[in-house]
């Protein structure tokens, strides 16, 4: 099977969209935080926590959407902790973010061991199943690729759309963007920068956790310790690549996922026997760094990103 065949197969694009879905959730979450001026490096750990929380809740008897809701809430809880430290206290967003990632990861692993002390392989759940949207899924190529996905994938795209609308068409979105551009403009108009930024971090963190939950509840049906595997860091690169715009970020995630799906398929071709598999596995990380370097010259970065706002500090 050569490259051309791969790129024209519906199963390839279906895989790309599936791989993109958790990235879309988490990238949108990160984008919301950064638009408000907070870099959230807790993303990796929050995704781990979300993956676990959603899965374990379903395992314990909750319906699938209940599991998604639990993941969302767990993500928001870690987001709340992040935002308290990084917004009113203005602590280094780098250190707080790394700390949240360490904390969320270790709390997750600890809980896993406490809840499932004896198991050698984690139990499986009945994950989200693909839902074929009537009519649309019959379109050749596009149908199977786009419209035969699980409900959580559709939710990812709807979320990106809604985020775009809220950010650019509503007073709330304007306030969020202004908080990331010049917080004193927000404060001078009588709005609370602290509340806006904290709210953005909490909500954004919730979406990150749902991105993690996608892995255990839609892409796979079980939880493994290394399953997030740096996807959070990749999403941070995707936010930059998408120039802090939800639409572009979604395109970036799909492009990225397509590369990922491609490398999996190329590994199985004759090339895969020549090139060590580690090279293929490196590709997502290398691409992320390349994306960061390529976009480094663009000036769309929110002007007050990583700048704490303390009114009246004397």
């Amino acid at each position: 099977m050569d490259l051309f065949d791969i790129l024209l197969s519906a199963s390839f694009w279906a895989a790309a969209i599936r791989i993109a879905s958790p990235l879309i959730f988490a990238t949108i979450g990160e984008l919301i935080c950064e638009r408000a001026g907070v870099l959230n490096l807790g993303i990796e750990g929050i995704m781990v926590a979300g993956a676990f929380a959603g899965w374990i809740s379903v395992w314990a008897g909750l319906p699938l959407w209940g599991g998604v809701a639990v993941a969302l809430l767990v993500g928001m809880a870690f987001g709340a902790l992040h935002s308290v430290l990084s917004v009113p206290f203005g602590l280094s967003q780098h250190v707080v973010g790394v700390g949240i990632t360490l904390l969320a990861t270790s709390v997750t692993f600890y809980t896993y061991r406490v809840v499932l002390p004896e198991v050698s392989s984690p139990p499986k759940i009945q994950a989200f199943q693909p839902y074929e949207i009537p009519l649309l899924s019959d379109i050749p190529l596009l149908g199977p690729a786009l419209f035969s996905q699980t409900p959580l994938t559709y939710a990812a795209f709807v979320l990106a759309l809604i985020t775009g609308l809220v950010l650019f068409r509503t007073p709330l979105g304007l306030a969020v963007r202004a908080a990331g551009e010049n917080p004193s403009a927000v404060a001078a108009q009588g709005l609370s920068v602290t509340a806006i930024r904290m709210g953005a971090v909490i909500v954004g963190s919730g979406f990150m956790a749902v991105g993690g939950a996608f892995l255990t509840m839609s892409a796979f049906d079980s939880f493994f310790f290394d399953m997030v595997g740096g996807r959070g860091w990749i999403c941070i690169a995707l936010v930059v690549f998408g120039a802090w715009r939800p639409g572009k970020a979604v395109l970036g995630a799909i492009l990225f996922a397509a590369f990922d799906a491609l490398q999996i398929r190329v590994q199985q071709t004759s090339l895969g026997t020549v090139i060590p598999y580690q090279i293929f596995l490196m590709m997502p990380y290398v691409l992320s760094i390349l994306a960061l370097v390529l976009m480094s010259r663009s000036a769309q970065v929110p002007a007050a990103l990583m700048v704490p706002f303390n009114k009246g500090t004397r």
Binding site: V98, G99, T194, W233, P276, Y285
Partner: protein, 349 residues
């Protein structure tokens, strides 16, 4: 809410918040231990006993602290200059790789020549690994947090490739593992019969050296100036970019020495599980030490104690070892908050 700087913080003001932070992280761990069905007092008793209760335990703790001193110093040096090196993990492996490449027979030199060569080679490798993100930062303005994090994944995959390919031990029964170091490439024990190698002494020497660089040399002055206010540093004529790159070299080199020390002192060969996250734990160590190089030694001992003790406690009563990770992660977050309270007071107005 408003933060007001304290002009002359009292001794109590400077010591109390960090102490409360550590105590609070113990309290959190105690609660979680209780949830897991372990009596907190028993849990902590077993942790201390497992880490300090016997000569063997104590030496194990010192051995575990050794790589943490290296990565902790690497992080402290970098963070002081506001170079956010989260990639000590990759740099540590870079040092380990060089140690194995040169130390498994490639150089048939006597130990007094070979060991320094390995150390220098390792440090250079780690320095180069951090130089790449540092250059991306200074040339393109790419945030080094993300690039160093991504490099950790890339480098670990690279090591995995090496261990299944060029560096694979032909006698290794198919395991991804390097050949063993030649005897001349092994760091001897400090005292014959005690399981503590010279890597620990090297770590202490590095800590003192970093302290001297920080306080007594122009480089230390420049690094602090660049870290505190790069704009003022540039205005004063300090070559900011060069200082950031020098910091990267020093930081990467220190982390890589940790890899050298682990392979040459403890393990004797390289496997993919050489580091259970020493690079990331180095961040916790450095923050607990308030980025002070001497404090890094103390913080490493503390962190190693928690880890070694938690291992032993977990074997005894089954509370998961991840309790130690939670404790240290919460200590990290509480400590950055505590540092804030040593300098500012919160006012409502």
């Amino acid at each position: 809410m408003r933060l007001e700087p304290i002009s002359q913080p009292s001794l109590q003001r400077r010591l109390l918040p960090p102490a409360v932070a550590i105590a609070a992280s113990f309290l959190i761990a105690a609660l979680l231990a209780q949830i897991a069905g372990g009596n907190p007092f028993a849990v902590f008793g077993l942790i201390f006993k497992g880490a300090l209760g016997s000569k063997f335990a104590l030496l194990e703790t010192l051995n575990r602290a050794t790589p943490l001193i290296f990565t902790g110093l690497a992080v402290a040096v970098a963070f002081r200059a506001k170079l956010w090196n989260i990639g000590a993990e990759a740099q540590l492996y870079a040092g380990a790789v060089i140690t194995v490449v040169l130390g498994t027979g490639a150089l048939a030199w006597p130990a007094p020549v070979l060991l320094p060569t390995l150390a220098i080679g390792a440090a250079l490798a780690g320095a180069v690994v951090l130089l790449v993100p540092a250059l991306l930062k200074t040339r393109f303005g790419v945030d080094e947090v993300v690039t160093t994090l991504l490099f950790n994944f890339i480098f670990l995959l690279f090591v995995s490739y090496l261990l299944e390919g060029p560096l694979k031990d032909p006698m290794g029964m198919g395991w991804p593992k390097s050949s063993r170091l030649v005897p001349e490439a092994r760091l001897p024990r400090i005292v014959e019969g005690l399981r503590l190698h010279w890597g620990f002494a090297l770590a202490l020497i590095c800590a003192v050296s970093v302290w001297i660089i920080d306080r007594k040399t122009t480089l230390g002055f420049e690094m602090r100036a660049v870290g505190q206010n790069p704009e003022a540093a540039r205005f004063a004529g300090i070559p900011v970019t060069a200082v950031i790159l020098k910091t990267a070299l020093l930081s990467g080199g220190l982390a890589a020495l940790g890899g050298f020390s682990e392979v040459a002192g403890l393990k004797g060969s390289l496997t993919l599980d050489l580091s259970p996250g020493f690079g990331y734990t180095g961040i916790v160590v450095a923050m607990l030490a308030l980025l002070n190089p001497i404090g890094v030694v103390a913080a490493s001992l503390f962190v190693a104690m928690i880890f070694v003790g938690a291992d032993s406690m977990s074997r005894a009563i089954g509370v998961p070892t991840y309790l130690a990770d939670i404790m240290l992660a919460s200590a990290l977050l509480l400590m950055v908050l505590a540092i804030l309270f040593t300098k500012f007071r919160v006012r409502r107005d």
